[in-house]
Homo-oligomer: 548 residues x 2
């Protein structure tokens, strides 16, 4: 072995055997985060935004460097180029997306999880983590379905069945639910081996139907479109049912769509209810939908990725009434269970449902083993369930209840602030802790009523431009952040308008911050170059007056 080769080998062993020194660059950052993560983020995430094109310059090398880099040197790069230009998703003023500050204990517990590096696909690489994850699934199952002690004692650790599947997020959870629903509807019988084996085309021949369909409201999450594509049923067969003025599925329209599907000889493989739409936080009439699913005998899935934890609240649980009649429910842990990114779950009322997607292999997942991997879409997976277990244990049901109640009540106060301000317009009032609104000055609101639809549309287009621009500048200034989306509002017919979207899950987002958000938007709006938009709006109104 040459001198260089020996030196290289020694260096290599070093990174596997010698811990980072506490006074090294990386050690120091590690300690700073340990000591006070909020302070670390405050100091190191630069709030003023650089353009993405500019940031990309630091990430342009496409060749893997041949030679190693010192950890210290790399850490400096991470600090200056990655951390500094990341997004402070935990900031109390970051109320535009579904991330929040996290409980402090999540970080050191994550380190234990990372250090153990378990693989939950099988018992041999996860041991106690397997029953722990099954317990977490049972706890969430009980939160939703409230079966009795006997039920859980029987099923919680039953090797051949599963109360649900832990996964990387709500998208995989929704896909898993629809996958199971599809396969169960088209299961093996007599002379037919089932869809899983035969495939969709032959299944349809066997069932003598033209296709499978999924029904959900227009507000359904985009993961359902992915699922319809992935599962081979086709996006065209994902039927987006119209909503009422409160963004809830219109039961009359649902019935109508169902009738149309029957006429086309399409079988409904699932009806999907939403418990907290991503854009407005509204909840479908789950009870009525459950009745509907029972009447027509189809799988009823509820996407409660966002709103599921509302079940913790004695005060607001009623909003989800009927969810216990769902065949499957999606809940995201990295949303309102306050767990770091990458943790979702799907729960199944009937412990037999997941057998519809069961699979085995010789070296793992042997039949009858307790390996979790035989019922999951994913294969190798980390032990993130541990963080859910920690949250449920440390925060407890009442702690989560408090978090839920705080958010909903804060959203109502913010809605009141917007309502009270003459120049803002509340577009969707919060049912949970999400609301949408836009800037729409009082003088213009008055004029709008008298305009013909075409001119209203012109004004709305200009307001859309304004909203987009304000949202962009507010983000770039880095003090506070709201997101934006486009949706239909009962106020303005069937055309979509652009709105600000606010999510109030971070318990550290105070009322003072909400006041500041509106103040900052007003300030941006008053900047000189946006005035042109108002002149244009004014002109449209004047032309309208003249033409009368």
């Amino acid at each position: 072995m040459t001198e260089t080769a020996r030196a290289n080998l020694e260096n290599l062993y070093r990174i596997f055997t010698v811990p980072e020194a506490p006074d090294s660059t990386l050690g120091a950052i590690d300690q700073a985060i340990t000591k006070n993560v909020a302070d670390f983020l405050q100091k190191h995430v630069v709030s003023l935004e650089r353009s993405l094109e500019d940031i990309e310059k630091d990430f342009f090398l496409s060749r893997i460097p041949d030679e190693p880099t010192f950890v210290s040197e790399y850490t400096t790069f991470v600090k200056e180029k990655l951390v500094a230009q990341s997004v402070h998703t935990a900031a109390p003023g970051f109320i535009g997306h579904m991330t929040s500050a996290l409980p402090y204990f999540m970080l050191p517990l994550s380190r234990i999880m990372m250090a153990l590096n378990q693989n939950l696909v099988k018992v041999e690489t996860s041991k106690a983590f397997t029953p722990m994850e099954r317990q977490v699934l049972a706890m969430l199952h009980r939160l939703i379905y409230a079966q009795d002690d006997n039920f859980y004692q029987h099923w919680i650790h039953d090797s051949r069945h599963a109360l649900g599947a832990f996964c990387s997020g709500g998208t995989i959870a929704n896909i898993t639910a629809l996958w199971a629903a599809r396969n169960r509807l088209c299961g093996a019988r007599d002379d037919f081996a089932g869809l899983a084996i035969e495939g969709l085309p032959r299944t349809l021949e066997y069932l003598d139907c033209a296709g499978l369909a999924v029904l959900v409201s227009r507000r359904g999450h985009y993961s359902l479109g992915k699922a319809a594509d992935l599962l081979g049923i086709g996006r065209k067969q994902l039927i987006l049912v119209d909503t009422d003025v409160n963004n809830r599925i219109d039961m009359q329209c649902l019935r109508e769509e169902y009738r149309k599907l029957q006429q086309q000889n399409l079988r409904v493989m699932a009806l999907v209810g939403i418990a907290g739409t991503t854009e407005t936080g509204h909840i479908d009439p789950l009870e009525q939908m459950a009745d509907f699913a029972t009447e027509f005998g189809c799988h009823f899935h509820v996407d409660a990725a966002w709103g599921g934890p509302t079940l913790f609240s004695d005060t607001y649980r009623y909003l989800l009434r009927g969810i216990d009649r769902a065949d499957s429910v999606t809940i995201d842990a990295h949303k309102q269970l306050y767990v770091p990114m990458g943790a979702g779950m799907v729960l199944f009322k009937d412990p037999h449902t997941l057998t519809a997607i069961e699979h085995h292999a010789n070296y793992i997942l042997r039949e009858g083993s307790k390996d979790l991997g035989s019922h999951t879409l994913e294969g190798s997976r980390p032990g993130k369930a541990m963080l859910v277990h920690a949250g449920l244990s440390i925060i407890g049901r009442r702690g989560y209840e408090l978090l839920i109640d705080l958010g909903i009540e804060k959203a109502r106060r913010f809605a009141d602030m917007i309502d009270a301000h003459p120049d803002f317009e509340l577009i969707t009032a919060p049912e949970l802790n999400i609301l949408t609104y836009r800037y729409h000055p009082a003088w213009l609101q008055q004029q709008m009523e008298n305009l013909d639809p075409q001119r209203q549309q012109q004004i709305n287009d200009l307001l859309d431009q304004l909203t987009r621009e304000v949202q962009k500048r507010q983000r770039e200034d880095g003090k506070t952040f709201v997101s934006r989306t486009r949706l239909r509002s009962a106020l303005y017919g069937t055309e979509q308008i652009t709105v600000f979207r606010v999510v109030l899950a971070n318990p550290l987002a105070t009322d003072a911050i909400l006041v500041a958000v509106l103040a900052e938007q007003l300030e941006i709006i008053s900047s000189a170059d946006l005035q042109a938009l108002f002149s244009a709006m004014n002109e449209i109104c004047q032309l309208a007056t003249q033409s009368v």
Copy 2:
């Protein structure tokens, strides 16, 4: 607000605002891991195994506790019930699965990643993490496809295209590849909107074919079966082609299977090559498979989840010759890139391929945005690409080369040890760093040759029992660990036999450990209650001699 309510609220704020004290129970564990993770695991993971049924008793509560638990109390539970009963996957003697010790820097960098809690589905919640992930994908793409600087400068940050998709693991990577292959084969044209929209049944009508099929060898990973089910093509249409004596796909059989599919009017949507089978580490003849795919015009996917990083090695890269002709390649980062669990990738030769599964939504993933989520199966995702970025930068190409070379050479030495020992039988020699073997005493090996097939089978059944039992006891003793699987061996016809499986990726697994693994197995085998198996084998042999 009542006194209790106020106290609860204060406690709640505390967990979001007050860091764990360094001298608290959790703080102390955190520091211990920071100081020396190997030492922590050594001390706290109990090596002697408790039965799973016994462990389950600690995870039987199905009701979410109403009241909060102190962090210290919960941490004690974690230490005693979870950590102690987890699996020491990083132990140098744990050579049965694909986990390894990790470079030290991975832990503090993971903490930075957790603290930032970015969501890579969109730029608004990930900023610099988006170009960073794209860079990682470009680096891996270049490792495989070696396009020139111009190519990468053009595509690396192109918002409408993607060189690949980062995901939670190889299963999602394989599914993504086959999803894209399916949709591309059945894309929109003239009067047809494409499979993604129309669904599989109508697509087959349009293409006038009876079904889609995927071809892979018998050694294909079980995720391909899941994919065939999920994508609606059906497991029956996942054609498992016979292998040669070296566990590589038999090209003659492949041609034969292809012909049969044509006769049935089934279209091949993908041919899958394996670069490192999960069970034996063998590599398919990729060059010949690429020729085949070119000849018949079908998508060529290579599942290099395990073996992909062999490309780092100047010495062994040749084993993957032809991989650059694949349309898509899966590589797992949590395997031989030495990143913690939950990181996989799929790379696509043509940056246009992923448009076949593109999707958008109003509030994120707007068309033309650089949001990564428009080309991934998953939705919200953590910033794990950062750890791959760190590995590639800090370890460098040469460092990974050294790791790969060490593993392959160690496997060869272990194979030599097994070969040299009269009572062990090497079943599959290592092409990479994986091998399989079994205990098969010299006296029995001699007799086996003279036995008729039926008696050989009886002996093999008994040897299978022995192998299972030894593997189980070795695991339970907790000193060293090998896994087991069942496979066909050219030595014993078409029936499967049970074998020990060893994976040598942990650089800390010394030759002394390999010696100890065999010694421990011999010791277990010499235990009294296993002797009955040998008596039974002996009896079969004697009966055979008498009957001659």
